[in-house]
């Protein structure tokens, strides 16, 4: 289980995650927040190919928390596979802090089967 660590500013504004794709594939998913001891905290929200932003909360509330991004790329009858690459970006006060392609299912090609992807990250204050 890989967890990326992203440094945020403790005094900064609210945080958001944006999940984007570089190709025309439909995807949907959700982001959940966990406490440092890995117990469930709250659901942050849903994202979709046309609604890519999810609020992660205020810096103070999000610091030292773990976040789980889970989604599915939906197959839509492609005659030949469609290559895709997803990017998860973390923003604070509108500034991009970090961008990464999820190592688990974040890139590949989709044809006639829906594909899962997972991304986990931890926010820590500088």
């Amino acid at each position: 289980m890989s967890i990326s660590t992203i440094t945020i500013t403790a005094q900064g504004g609210p945080l958001t995650a944006i999940i984007e794709s570089n190709s025309p594939v439909a995807y949907t998913g959700a982001v959940w927040r966990y406490k440092a001891d890995k117990t469930f905290d709250q659901q942050c929200g849903f994202f979709r190919y046309d609604r890519q932003e999810v609020q992660l909360g205020a810096a103070a509330a999000a610091a030292d928390k773990l976040f789980l991004v889970k989604g599915v790329l939906i197959n839509q009858g492609a005659s030949t596979p469609i290559p895709y690459e997803l990017q998860v970006s973390i923003f604070q006060d509108g500034n991009r802090l970090y961008t990464e392609v999820p190592k688990e299912g974040g890139s590949g090609a989709i044809d006639n089967k829906a594909l899962a992807f997972i991304y986990r990250f931890k926010l820590q204050t500088s």
Binding site: V25, A30, Q76, A114, I118
Partner: protein, 357 residues
């Protein structure tokens, strides 16, 4: 009274079918009807590149990323010579990017993603060292049945996956494989299947226009040099599918093939123009009607010929006969290279429906 008629009809159909099987040659009724329905291709080949090659291209490798091209280039060559048995396809404009939102809003993005290029090699039919290289392009200019371009369908599908997968609090440590298993299950769920089935039922005959272009070259002894490379064939295809209400589809198509000059008595050009209408009146009754005109040109004008192709086929599902009873009329009109060709009646009973959506 009505039941009596049904019994008579069933006995009549059974006797026709049985006598059909019993007559010499009539046992091939199903094969003849299948041949009648497939003699003229009213679509654009999935890979025009491979349509013009003398042999079948091997399994096609899909090139999804730029680095795949470099990796697969080696399969086309054996040293400095072209090697038979390689086949790849790719979406050449996928590097232009564009997410699904852009795809749904911009025609050029859709056009770019719907364009595929294929490349393949085979050896000649009669053996030898020559290698045939085929390259082709296929573009879908209009596709009202494109699921990616249907916002409502995409949203419904996403909603269905959401409700199955994301309404519960997930295990933080669930692996990708475990999650993929749940995604696979969600794909088979009745809610997802129903949405997909409805979409297929509503769009099977939607407006669609495909074009294809292909060319093949013969590389003497496999050498890719100017003095060893000879143009062999060029092909052009166009197919326009139009809805006729909800239960029928009309396809208007044309194709042209040019063959390199071998001698004055071999065919040089062939043009085919035709139309086919298919009616699915119920789950137990389908009718297909088609007409095509074929023009064949030779270097010697005296050898030129043209003929008509006609096929009218009606299929009725009769469970008591174990499948489909089919009645067909059609064939090719007589022409110089097939003076015995004629329109004929065929009938048969077979298990699997031949007229398909």
């Amino acid at each position: 009274m009505k039941n009596t008629y049904k019994i008579y009809l069933l006995v009549l159909l059974s006797s026709i079918a049985i006598s059909g099987y019993a007559q010499p040659g009539a046992g091939d009724g199903a094969a003849a009807i299948k041949e009648l329905l497939t003699a003229v291709n009213y679509g654009v080949p999935a890979s025009p590149a491979f349509e013009l090659l003398p042999g079948k291209a091997s399994e096609v490798t899909h090139l999804n990323f730029a680095h795949d091209i470099g990796v697969n280039a080696g399969t086309f060559f054996n040293g400095s010579k072209l090697q038979a048995g390689a086949a790849v396809d790719l979406r050449p404009f996928s590097f232009t990017g564009g997410d699904l939102k852009q795809y749904q809003e911009n025609y050029l993005t859709r056009l770019a993603w719907r364009t595929t290029v294929a490349l393949g090699t085979t050896s000649g039919k009669s053996g030898g060292n020559d290698v045939f290289l085929g390259v082709g392009l296929r573009i879908t200019l209009i596709d009202k049945s494109d699921p990616k371009n249907d916002k409502a369908f995409t949203q419904k599908l996403a909603d269905a996956y959401d409700s199955v997968l994301f309404k519960i609090t997930p295990d933080l440590e669930e692996t990708l494989e475990q999650f993929q298993e749940r995604v696979d299950m969600a794909g088979k769920s009745p809610s997802v299947q129903r949405i997909r089935d409805e979409f297929t039922a509503n769009t099977w005959n939607a407006l669609r226009w495909d074009v294809g272009l292909g060319a093949s070259d013969r590389a003497a002894s496999g050498y890719l040099k100017r003095d060893s490379l000879f143009r062999d064939r060029i092909g052009l295809w166009s197919a326009l599918g139009l809805p006729l209400g909800k239960k029928a589809q009309l396809t208007i198509s044309g194709n042209s093939a040019w063959v390199s000059h071998r001698n004055d008595t071999t065919e040089r050009h062939r043009y085919v123009a035709g139309a086919r209408a298919r009616f699915f009146l119920s789950s137990a009754l389908a009718i297909s009607g088609e007409y095509a005109r074929i023009f064949s040109k030779y270097p010697q004008p005296g050898l030129n010929e043209r003929w008509n192709h006609l096929a009218i086929v009606a299929e009725v599902k009769i469970p008591k006969l174990g499948g489909w009873f089919s009645f067909a009329y059609g064939g090719d009109s007589a022409h110089r290279t097939d003076k015995a060709a004629k329109f004929a009646i065929n009938y048969a009973v077979y298990a699997d429906q031949l007229i398909k959506k």
